[in-house]
Symmetry: D2
Subunit: 124 residues, 4 copies
Amino acid sequence: MNPIDIQQINERLEAFAQDREWNQFHSIKNLAMALGAEAGELLEILQWLTEDQSNAIKDSPKEKTKLEEEVADIFIYLCRIAYKANINLEQAVNKKIELNAKKYPTEIAKGSAKKYSELPVVGE
Amino acid sequence: MNPIDIQQINERLEAFAQDREWNQFHSIKNLAMALGAEAGELLEILQWLTEDQSNAIKDSPKEKTKLEEEVADIFIYLCRIAYKANINLEQAVNKKIELNAKKYPTEIAKGSAKKYSELPVVGE
Amino acid sequence: MNPIDIQQINERLEAFAQDREWNQFHSIKNLAMALGAEAGELLEILQWLTEDQSNAIKDSPKEKTKLEEEVADIFIYLCRIAYKANINLEQAVNKKIELNAKKYPTEIAKGSAKKYSELPVVGE
Amino acid sequence: MNPIDIQQINERLEAFAQDREWNQFHSIKNLAMALGAEAGELLEILQWLTEDQSNAIKDSPKEKTKLEEEVADIFIYLCRIAYKANINLEQAVNKKIELNAKKYPTEIAKGSAKKYSELPVVGE
């Protein structure tokens, strides 16, 4: 899989918005609502499926295409929010992965779906 | 901004899940719910702000860090969903950008926040 | 179960907002974001549970209390939105139930999780 | 406005589900996803509107009808979740309103959109 050139995507999305005079609508608040709406469409695809059926979507071209479109929509709004807020997506993601590794130490979190705040305290 | 190496992120996230025996929880259905929960946290940060205040978050280090963490969480779950569903994120995003260009032709969509289905129909 | 006196709830919520000078934040847009954030918290409670585990929450006092609080939060924001938009909740709900009965005729929809738009067309 | 007879609504919704053999899909987990999807549709109606425009929806019959339908859909799923989890909606809502009154004392919370956890601590 090729790396994703976020800068190029940002430039395309910004040109897209400028051509349509849509930046007037693209406040970070509004973009977050749009992302929330797309997350809702993702839920709608999966809401009545069992977990196994949800995993089998990859073998159903028609359903997979729908899933792909929602995932892409969320990605696009995420890029727009990061672009408007001067967030470096790559750095933010790597920082969060490292933070999660500290929050959920392997030995403590193994096999447990508990939230960080409910896990037994580590160290001290 | 560096390109994002999705394959490397996927490998880190998969190792993270395997080390903690979390793949049992990571059905596509469950990951979509987790993404929806994170989208909710993004909304919570912005819900009482005006649009201008939401755009000014980039100048407030404390608020920007919170925004960055939510954006990263959503990105991480999006990568997990794409990984589990064999979706090529880069191709899916580029395909969707092209689709949007056809759905919202510049001349018709200019300055309008109307949905595709409510825009005047375009020629033949 | 007692009927819910929506007018009384609306009066309490409006007094609550006025006492705290919160009406400045309570645009319908903002209230919808707040409802979306609460829906996210509801998802978070349930995201790693199996369907059976989610149904068993009613037997776990601690988890049930969490669920109750989220359900109440969503109800409260729903009342606020209806109040601000002059929506008669009781009429809106009854109208929607009747609409759904027409959209999903028993014989056609039986045992199928298909959306209205994907169900076989009925009669003329 | 008439009080809402939740018991009657529950009975109608339960009969509706039984007639269509839909209870197999109505786990609390799935119903929460469906509610999240409807919350997304609510966001979609409002995402590109200014706060003032969102408040003016009550004067636009077409837009108001759309809002009414989403509000009703969310109400319906909320009733279903409460019904399946043995939650007494009226008690849960009243308890939450009282809890909020303690969490956000008038003098401290006045004019502030800060979350409970960020408000100055009150007395002992």
